[in-house]
């Protein structure tokens, strides 16, 4: 038996080492270039025959290269144009009903660091041809007395060096708290309220640069993560030493533009403008194109299957990580001595926390447990039979889930793209186990096991949420064999559990009549 276990562990180890050494790819930790597929989607509601929608197509430059399928550009209802040296796309057409416009391209991006010359002094930069980027506007009030006064104060601190001034301005805007909804978005309001939207912050930084005599402009785009967004992101650029240097006060990038930033437009624009339309819903669906860096000797390449859309990412990840999670539970129960609700439940709860977010999931879960605890008292007093009682509990849990989902979406605590079906099923499943425990033992026992389940769940969550581990298992699925081998070894281990040492610590065999 032991031999089989060792073989199961050694085979994948050899494969991983073989594949690792046979592919001399760059260290995956240092990603310099990323490929993403971006899809714009505009849902037009209440169109009356004619619509006109404008949006931006990113520029090709040294740090981002855009690849659009030629057929997409030849579409009859779309035209291309320029606006403020950005690439504008215009869709015009007529429709009787609600309709959807979508547009897709793939993009490769690269990280860029800008070097600001430490010795560069104010007034030394050539600014004459950038005159338009020094002017004040309705949203970037560079010559408003309040903004001027602040700039003057900052100029006193760093009188000559552009680099120092840029740092001071950046730090000032960076520490302004960001508020997502309903807050002012222009520079002056942001300056006065000391809290504003992401766009407001980039406008304020632009205004401050301009009032200090440095040309500056807003920039908008998408921060590339695997998700579906409803809005775009904002940062800005300042013209320093003959080049446009990027600053992102929202995500703390000073004089650098990470590979995750896809620039869609420069200047003070809206990503989408429309006319003759009731309303539109816009979505930006971003998908990372992954590549398997270790293709040689791969028995099957899961990355490729995911990229080809032959396997969905999420269920594959759950399947690959389920054994690891269950193994963590096995260690917690057999070696440490934790008691949990089932072997798989802590792993499944951990997965649902991955979907919902840790804090949101914990709150959601704890409220369910609290509800069942409170309800168990009257139900027990009334002597309700077991199965109807569980149905009754589940009904309340369902009602709670419905209102919780509503609250999640209104407050934005959980990303709208998160699929909540899986978490809800798992968490209601738990509620049955919990109710049963309350009934068969006591509320105290049930809560005690709940506490231990949470501890084990958190350790699962901590390990399973690590990107490194997720990618490792997708890249090297053969590791699953090793988990089987390790489980065989664990199944043979008969030592005392950690908790048993304290439990049995009072037994002192020497006083026993048996020697």
């Amino acid at each position: 038996m032991k031999k089989i276990a060792y073989v199961l562990i050694i085979i994948p180890a050899i494969l991983v080492i073989l594949r690792y050494s046979a592919n001399d790819e760059p260290d995956p930790g240092v990603i310099t270039e990323l490929t993403y597929n971006v899809t714009y989607r505009y849902d037009i509601k209440g169109g009356d025959n004619y619509y006109n929608i404008e949006s931006f197509l990113p520029l090709n430059d040294f740090r981002q290269s855009i690849d659009v399928a030629p057929s997409a550009l030849l579409s009859s209802d779309m035209m291309q144009s320029d606006r403020d040296s950005n690439r504008l796309m215009i869709w015009r057409g007529s429709t009787e009903t609600d309709t959807t416009i979508s547009f897709q391209y793939s993009v490769k991006t690269r990280h860029v660091d800008f070097n600001i010359d430490q010795n560069l002094k104010l007034g030394e930069s050539a600014v004459s041809e950038q005159q338009q980027y020094l002017e004040s506007s309705n949203t970037i009030q560079a010559d408003h007395p309040d903004i001027r006064e602040s700039t003057d104060r900052f100029l006193l601190d760093s009188p000559d060096s552009i680099n120092e001034l840029a740092e001071t301005l950046f730090e000032y805007v960076e520490q302004i708290p960001t508020v997502r909804n309903g807050m002012a978005t222009d520079a002056l309001a942001c300056h006065q309220a000391r809290a504003c939207s992401e766009e407001g912050k980039s406008r304020l930084l632009t205004a401050l640069f301009r009032s200090a005599g440095i040309p500056a402009r807003e920039a908008g785009g998408l921060v590339l993560t695997d998700e579906k967004k409803g809005t775009v992101d904002y940062w800005m650029q300042a013209y320093i030493g003959d080049e446009w240097v990027s600053f992102d006060p929202e995500r703390s990038h000073f004089a650098e533009l990470p590979a995750t930033h896809l620039e869609l437009f420069r200047g003070d624009h809206n990503i989408v403008t429309y006319a003759d339309v009731g309303s539109i819903n816009s979505f930006y669906d971003i998908k990372r194109e992954r590549q398997n860096d270790y293709t040689s000797y791969a028995i099957f390449d899961i990355w490729k299957l995911i990229d080809d859309d032959r396997l969905p990412f999420r269920p594959v990840m759950v399947l690959l990580l389920l054994p690891l999670g269950a193994y963590i539970v096995a260690i917690s129960t057999n070696v440490v001595g934790f008691k949990t609700y089932g072997v798989f439940l802590p792993v499944l709860i951990a997965f649902s926390f991955l979907d919902m977010g840790l804090i949101q999931g914990l709150i959601f879960f704890t409220v369910i447990i609290a509800l069942i605890s409170f309800m168990s008292f009257p139900l027990e007093r009334w002597g309700i039979l077991h199965t109807p009682k569980i149905v009754c509990l589940l009904t309340v849990v369902s009602l709670y889930c419905l209102s919780a989902v509503e609250i999640f979406f209104i407050t934005g605590w959980v990303a709208p793209s998160a699929t909540l079906t899986f978490p809800i099923i798992i968490l209601t499943l738990i509620s049955e186990r919990f109710a049963q425990k309350v009934e068969e033992e006591s509320l105290k026992d049930a809560l005690f096991v709940y506490g231990q389940t949470i501890i084990v769940t958190l350790s699962c969550f901590w390990i399973l949420s690590a990107n490194v581990i997720q990618h490792f298992f997708i890249t090297f699925p053969e590791t699953l064999l090793a988990i089987a081998g390790l489980s065989l070894l664990l199944g043979e281990w008969i030592g005392l559990q950690l908790f048993e040492y304290t439990r049995f610590s009072k037994i002192d065999e020497e006083v026993s009549y048996v020697k």
Binding site: E440, E441, R503, E509, S512
Partner: protein, 294 residues
């Protein structure tokens, strides 16, 4: 120095059995999975016991259908006191002890209506105490425990847990109910576990789940040193029971009835490990000790 510490630590826990070792070395090795039913279903247990002429409380009826509750209950009208328990219950849950006084039923001092009794039986059948699976309710004789054992505390039924390995008792524990445990004898519900020198039936150490005590918390009667009545019969019964079952590692629960003497209450294929606390001895060392005696 560190080595010394590790060795002392190891030897201290050497004979103590943990749950992993118990499962692999005793349960999996001595008990066939397919025989578990003989212990897990109390009606099956009773069948084997009765077939071998081994004493156990008399069964009045078994009810497996909700529709039968009323009819069977009517047939047993003349019974004065009884125990209602699930055939596949776990951890002593779902056991109802009732007595009749002046035509009314009482659970201890609390009056119980027939409707409440019927609901309890229905709950048993619906699987409330057997993890949701359908179950049967057993109606059986309520035993009257031996006065020497109820002297510690009169509010419940004290029982003796004997661990047998290959037809030989290796370790024993007397479980005493307390007011805190609500008349139940389970250690984790507040009962007191008392170690037994199985050669003589002498009580050794009393453990209340947290610490060792000298006297019963309710009556203040000293526990260690007392001798269990009819000990030889208890040991013989345990040996016989062990022979009657194909399960070779067992926890046998025995009560001593005032009139009938030792009776088998139930048997358990997964006996708990707290018995080691009550005896201040590891199960493994006790097994070795019994083996060398033979």
């Amino acid at each position: 120095m560190l080595n010394n510490l590790v060795n002392r630590f190891r030897s201290r826990y050497k004979g103590v059995m943990g749950i992993n070792e118990r499962n692999r070395k005793l349960i999996y090795l001595f008990n066939e999975r397919s025989d578990y039913i003989l212990a897990d279903d109390k009606l099956e247990t009773k069948k084997v016991l009765e077939k071998n002429g081994l004493n156990c409380p008399e069964t009045y009826a078994a009810i497996g259908r909700v529709g039968d509750i009323k009819r069977i209950w009517e047939q047993k009208r003349d019974v004065e006191n009884l125990v209602i328990k699930p055939a596949s219950g776990r951890g002593g849950n779902g056991i109802l002890l009732i007595r009749r006084r002046d035509g009314e039923w009482y659970q201890g001092e609390k009056p119980v209506s027939e409707t409440q009794i019927f609901t309890h039986i229905a709950n048993i059948i619906f699987g409330m105490f057997s993890g949701g699976d359908d179950d049967r309710a057993i109606l059986e004789e309520l035993i009257v425990p031996h006065p020497e054992l109820t002297a510690f505390y009169s509010g419940g039924i004290p029982d003796i847990r004997l661990i047998t390995l290959a037809d030989k008792p290796v370790m024993g524990m007397l479980r005493l109910p307390t007011r805190e445990s609500n008349g139940k004898a389970n250690l984790h519900q507040g009962g007191v576990g008392v170690g037994i020198d199985i050669n003589s039936g002498t009580l050794t150490y009393a453990y209340n789940g947290k610490s060792y005590i000298e006297t019963h918390p309710d009556s203040n009667i000293k526990i260690p040193g007392k001798i269990i009545p009819q000990w030889k019969e208890v040991m013989d019964l345990a040996g016989e029971v062990s022979k009657a079952f194909p399960l070779k590692y067992l926890g046998i629960d025995i009560v001593i009835d005032k009139n009938k003497g030792p009776l088998v209450l139930e048997i358990n294929v997964r006996p708990g490990l707290s018995i080691q606390m009550a005896n201040k001895a590891g199960l493994m060392s006790m097994i070795h000790a019994t083996r060398t005696q033979v």
